[in-house]
Symmetry: C2
Subunit: 350 residues, 2 copies
C-alpha cells in the first residue's frame, strides 16, 4: 500500500518528544519560536533541484545532510547559532527507502547542531528540497557582508576546490581525465604509469566527493568570529565571486571604493587537486564554488586571536590577501606580479 | 541578452528603500528580524508545484498572489500578524514578462498586509515556488489547533466550494458539464435552454475561478479571533479533513475523545454552486479544499461578539455545528437525521 502524505510525515519527520527549542512544532498551521532576550532571528532559505544542485543518483542520506548543511553554512556566515528549520519538499513518489535514508542524513546533521525541524510541507512533483533555517544572533554582533574596511586581512577557512573538481570530473571528464582511475585491475590498455597513479587518484577523488556531498558548515567558526571579523560570507559560488559580493556591499555601505589583492600562493587549494596543472587548480579553487567554507575580513590586529582560534577549532584558517581602497580583485603570484585571471560568481541563468 | 540571476533579483524582487520591518533584508547570507517584546514568531512554509497546485497556463500575477496568500492564510489561522517572508523559486527560464507579472501580483498582496520580502533563493529547474512566512503573535494568544472543547460552536468564514468547482470543471468536465457555457454565440447545436443558462453559468464560473486564483487570506479575522476562538485552522484540504486535524490534536491535548456534529443546511456553500445537485455541492463544500477560509471553535458565550465581528469585518461568519465528546464527524440534515457522507483530507500521495 502506498504511503500517504500524513503517514510519511509521521514516519520519517515527526520526532518523539515534541518541540525542544520551539514553543510549538510540527502539526499546527504555524510553528512558534522565540529568540532569546537581546537576540534577533537570522533566516536563510536554499532550494536544491535535482540535476542542478545534486546528481540524480546521489546517496539520499548525503542529500539530507547537504540540504541542511548549505543552510547552516549561511547561519555560520552570519555568526548565528542554529535554532530550527522548516523543510518543504516535492517528491516524485513516496519511496520509503529513499525517505528513511534522507531523513537519517538530515537529522544526523540537525542533531549535531541542535537544530530542530519545526515544520514543513510535502507534495508530489519533480524532486525539490527547500529548507528555511533559523538561528539567533545579537543584531549588533551579526557578521554582515558590508563591514569590510580597506587594510583588513582576507581570510578563508579549510581548503578549496575539491567539490568543484568532483563535479568537473563527472560533467567534463575530457577536461579532467583520470588516468587509470576507472580501471579496477581489469583494464588491459592502461599503461603502467596510469596504474601506478590510479590508486592515489581514486583516493583523492573519493575525498573530493565526500567534500562535495557532505560539506561541514562552519558554525563554530562563525560563532567565534562574532567578536573578530569585520565581514563574512560563505563560499557557495566561488571565492572571487563571493568576495565580490562582500566588496560591493561594503563599498556601498561606506560610499567609497574597495577592492582586494589575493596572494595566489597562499590560497589553500585542496591537496586532492595536487595532480592538476596550476591553471585548473586556480579555476577550481577561485571560481569553482560549493566549498561552504567561510571567507572573512579582519583587522591586522586580529592575527594572534585567529591563530589561537584555528588551533582551538582544529580548522585551518589562512590569510590569503588584503582589502584595499582600489576597486577590483587582483591576483598576485609569488613575486607580487599580477596574474591574469577572470572569474565570475556562478549564475543559474547564465 | 539573457537576464542573469542577480539582475533578475534586482529587477523584480529587490525594492527601493531597504528593509522596513526587518533589521537586515535581501543581499546578505541571512536576513535578520526580531519580533516585538512579548511576541513569538509564527512560521509557516508552503511549496507550490506546477500541475499540482496551479495550472501551467495560470496568469503569473495570480500565481504571485496565491503563492503568498496560502502562506498568509496559515498566519491568519494562528492569529499572527504578518511581518515578512522568504521566496525560493525554481524557474525553467528567466522570462521577463512572467517575472514582471508574478512579482506584481506578489507585492500587491504583500503590501496590502505590510509583509516584507526579506530574502530568497533563485535557481533554474521545473517551476516551483516555496514561500516561508513570518508573523508575530504573543505565544499565549496564538490560535492553535489543539484548543477545541466539547460544547464549543463550530464556525466558518466566507463561503465554501467555489475553488474546488473551478478545478473540477477543468479536470473532470464530464462530471461537471457546463451546458452552453463554452459556446460564445458560435455554437450551433446548443439548445435554447443551454443558451439561456450559459451567461449566468459563465459568470458563476468566472467568480469561482477568481476565488481559486485570488484567495483572500483572513488575516484581520485571525487577529480578532485571538481573544475569542479556542482553536482554528485554515481550510486548504477540505472542511471535514481539516476539522479532523483540529479534533485529533485537541483530543490528544485533553486525552479525551472529541467529535463534531455539522448541520449541513447551515454550511455556507458558495452561490456559484447553486445550479449543482446537492451531492456535488456537498462534496465540493465539505472536501473540495483550496477555500482558504478559517474554520474555528468558540464557546457559546462568544456568539454576540462573533456577530459584531462579522459586521465590523464585512465578512460572513457562520455557525455550522458543535464540538462533541463523541468521536467522529457526523453530518445532519434539516431534521437532525444523519447524512451518510465520506470525506478525507486531500493527500498528495494517495
Amino acid at each position: 500500500m502506498a504511503l500517504g502524505e500524513f503517514e510519511l510525515i509521521r514516519a520519517y519527520f515527526e520526532r518523539s518528544a515534541g518541540p525542544r527549542r520551539a514553543l510549538l512544532g510540527i502539526g499546527d498551521d504555524c510553528a512558534l519560536i522565540r529568540p532569546g532576550p537581546d537576540q534577533s532571528l537570522a533566516i536563510s532559505t536554499d532550494m536544491l533541484v535535482e540535476g542542478r544542485h545534486f546528481f540524480a543518483d546521489v546517496d539520499p542520506a548525503a542529500l539530507g545532510h547537504k540540504a541542511l548543511a548549505v543552510n547552516l553554512s549561511d547561519l555560520a556566515a552570519m555568526g548565528a547559532r542554529p535554532l530550527g528549520f522548516t523543510l518543504a519538499m516535492a517528491l516524485p513518489q513516496a519511496d520509503e527507502r529513499w525517505l528513511a535514508a534522507f531523513s537519517r542524513g538530515l537529522f544526523a546533521l540537525a542533531d549535531a547542531h541542535d537544530c530542530e525541524l519545526i515544520g514543513g510541507d510535502t507534495t508530489r512533483g519533480p524532486l525539490n528540497l527547500c529548507i528555511t533555517v533559523f538561528g539567533e544572533v545579537p543584531p549588533d554582533a551579526a557578521l554582515r557582508r558590508d563591514g569590510a574596511r580597506a587594510g583588513d586581512d582576507l581570510w578563508v577557512s579549510g581548503a578549496l576546490g575539491a567539490p568543484a573538481w568532483a563535479v568537473a570530473c563527472r560533467l567534463t571528464p575530457e577536461a579532467f581525465p583520470m588516468p587509470g582511475a576507472d580501471c579496477s585491475g581489469t583494464g588491459s590498455n592502461a599503461d603502467s604509469d596510469a596504474r601506478a597513479n590510479a590508486a592515489p587518484l581514486r583516493t583523492a577523488l573519493a575525498a573530493a566527493r565526500l567534500r562535495l556531498e557532505r560539506p561541514q558548515p562552519r558554525v563554530a567558526l562563525g560563532l567565534a568570529l562574532r567578536s573578530i571579523a569585520s565581514a563574512a560570507i560563505d563560499l557557495s559560488d566561488g571565492l572571487v565571486g563571493d568576495l565580490g559580493h562582500v566588496l560591493s556591499r561594503s563599498a556601498a555601505a561606506r560610499a567609497a571604493p574597495l577592492g582586494a589583492l589575493i596572494d595566489w600562493p597562499r590560497v589553500p587549494v585542496d591537496t586532492a587537486l595536487d595532480h592538476l596543472p596550476d591553471s585548473q587548480r586556480m579555476a577550481l579553487a577561485l571560481s569553482g564554488g560549493d566549498d561552504y567554507e567561510l571567507l572573512f575580513c579582519a583587522p591586522v590586529s586580529a592575527r594572534p586571536a585567529l591563530a589561537m582560534l584555528s588551533r582551538s577549532l582544529g580548522l585551518t584558517l589562512t590569510r590569503i590577501g588584503t582589502v584595499t581602497d582600489q576597486p577590483g580583485v587582483q591576483l598576485l603570484d609569488a613575486h607580487g606580479n599580477r596574474i591574469d585571471f577572470h572569474a565570475a560568481a556562478f549564475d543559474h541563468f547564465r
